[in-house]
């Protein structure tokens, strides 16, 4: 299928890529019927979806709270309007009024044109859930986006980026196709860097070490872009004397399955996680800096995994670990090493889904000097998305332009703080903000939070 006229759509994956993920693309003539079959299944299984379909009164509260709408002023990017792309089909097929008087209740048959709109708008939504935060009915519109993306996936429609990344997951257990040899080489390089930067400090990065207590799950993007996040985590884990390791079979804190296929692909990561935890004898899993991946793990692993380990092994985030040590007074920190004026971007999944607003601030206040940290506004649960949430990090021209528009609100927030450093402790946020601060001419450096912890830790012999 070619790109639909005028719609903003990311470059789509080929049938070959879908076949590798076990999906046979559905022919155009059968797409509408197949999609309605899937909707019927979701309707009977997912109550939050039915609630979203049935309860919205179009009060408009979500509109001005959505960075996507604020950036584009496209009515289909109003969360309620975006959900309507499915709602009108839902009404037509699953409500009495819609079956009898479709024209009166805004019900519509599903056609290819609407499916093309799904592809366009469900991949402009970043699943940030700020609309859910302000909805007086508590409708989580991101769930509608997720269902839209899932149905598109089953039809064989999806972005090249998400589909290729899902392929890398099945092959290697991480998004970037990291190999063990590549990991070890990168980590040796980082050990040398730490030794040079911190007066001969020796920090090791164990990989696949049997009989480890802690399995640390880094974001694979840290191996290419976010070196200091990887270093900070290793420095912290070594400082507290953890018997830890990473695994080359699951070197990924993210889970693009959660963003596209919350079944086969998402489960692959969950299964690998539990297999590796068991194989390496780990008693605890500590998660690295990744927002959506941490949500997928914290909220879904216990129910999605059918292995006993998932009910027994505690899973925490590295921010929780650092917070606990800070509160217990067990870290000697030198905040002067992070002296520049800094602000904090609350990644959506931490702040609105995982209750991390406090722990990030406990850490921040411990690792920077008094007065260096300025809040952006709004913040915490009310913060705006970076504009790249749910992995919409597309680089085709039209979609890249869209990413700049979708980050207008973020740029405005950052600029108002006059900060020199923008802390964004999530790999998607980092990947979005590295280019975005340049496009918006913001004079800030983008960093993670654990980066600052590693930099402030005072090691004594």
């Amino acid at each position: 299928m070619s790109e639909a006229n005028g719609l903003r759509q990311p470059k789509r994956a080929t049938a070959d890529l879908f076949l590798k993920l076990g999906v046979v693309p559905v022919p155009d003539g059968e797409k509408a019927a197949a999609a309605i079959g899937h909707l019927d299944e979701f309707r009977t299984k997912v109550r939050s979806f039915v609630m979203a379909m049935e309860s919205c009164v179009k009060c408009g509260a979500c509109a001005e709270n959505c960075h996507t709408y604020l950036g584009t002023r496209d009515p289909n990017n109003i969360p309620a309007g975006r959900a309507d792309l499915i709602r009108k089909v839902y009404k037509r097929h699953f409500t009495v009024q819609g079956k009898l008087f479709p024209g009166l209740v805004g019900a519509q048959d599903l056609d290819l044109e609407t499916i093309e709109k799904w592809y366009s708008y469900y991949y402009q939504c970043s699943e940030c859930r700020r609309c859910a935060h302000v909805c007086p009915f508590g409708i989580d519109t991101a769930e509608v986006t997720m269902i839209g993306r899932q149905i598109l996936f089953w039809l064989g429609i999806g972005p090249q980026l998400h589909t290729a990344t899902s392929g890398a997951i099945l092959k290697t257990g991480n998004h970037m196709g990291l190999t063990q040899a590549g990991m070890v080489d990168t980590l040796d390089f980082l050990s040398e860097e730490i030794e040079e930067e911190y007066e001969g400090l020796k920090v090791t990065f164990p990989v696949d070490k049997p009989n480890s207590d802690v399995l640390y799950i880094p974001s694979s993007a840290d191996f290419m872009l976010n070196a200091n996040t990887l270093k900070g985590a290793a420095m912290f884990l070594q400082y507290v004397g953890a018997n830890w390791t990473m695994s080359s079979r699951i070197t990924e804190a993210g889970n693009f399955g959660y963003l596209m296929d919350q079944n086969r692909v998402m489960r692959e990561m969950v299964t690998r996680l539990m297999e590796e935890t068991t194989r390496l004898g780990c008693k605890k899993i500590v998660w690295g800096e990744c927002g959506h991946g941490w949500r997928a793990t914290k909220m879904y692993v216990p129910t999605m995994s059918d292995m006993p380990a998932s009910r027994k092994i505690p899973m925490t985030h590295i921010h929780d670990e650092v917070e606990a040590y800070v509160k217990a007074g067990l870290l000697e920190l030198d905040p002067k090493r992070n002296a520049r004026k800094i602000t904090l971007h609350d990644p959506c999944n931490y702040a609105r889904a995982c209750g991390h607003s406090d722990n990030m601030r406990v850490i921040m206040n411990a690792v920077v000097p008094k007065g260096a940290f300025t809040e952006m506004r709004p913040n915490r649960e009310a913060n705006f998305c970076c504009g790249g949430g749910s992995g919409i990090l597309f680089d085709d021209k039209k979609m890249y332009e869209y990413r700049i528009l979708a980050s207008n609100k973020k740029a405005e927030q950052v600029r108002a703080t006059n900060a020199e450093v923008l802390c964004a402790p999530c790999s998607i946020c980092k990947a979005q903000l590295y280019p975005m601060v340049k496009e918006h001419k913001l004079p800030v450096e983008v960093v993670g939070l654990v980066d600052l912890v590693g930099n402030a830790l005072v090691f004594r012999d």
Partner: protein, 105 residues
């Protein structure tokens, strides 16, 4: 997957025009990408980066961490972006026949 013809050879590429099989790389490929990516004529500095990437990929199966690429090739990040305007992960890797990076990059 689509094919493009470069110097009379059929090269299989992905949707973004990256080579599917890095083993099929030949120098003409780098010239072809340089033209289509707006890099222009390849200088000695470009080749230094391309050769480094190819060697590294052959040894490890991945593209190097950007910081490592800069440090070990001796080419600072700023110059790297001047040489390859779309960046080391995309422009340079494409010239060197490496697959397009996936995930959060």
């Amino acid at each position: 997957m689509p094919f493009v013809e470069v110097e009379g050879k059929q090269v299989e590429v992905d949707e973004d025009g990256f080579m599917v099989d890095p083993a099929a790389w030949f120098p003409g490929w780098a010239h072809y990408v340089a033209k289509s990516e707006g890099i222009g004529e390849l200088t000695e500095r470009h080749w230094h980066v391309i050769d480094f990437l190819k060697d590294y990929y052959a040894k490890t199966g991945i593209a190097p961490m950007i910081r490592k690429l800069c440090k070990e090739s001796g080419i600072p990040l700023k110059e790297m972006y001047e040489l390859f305007p779309t960046g080391p992960a995309k422009g340079a890797c494409k010239c060197a026949g490496l697959p397009k990076p996936t995930g959060c990059v």
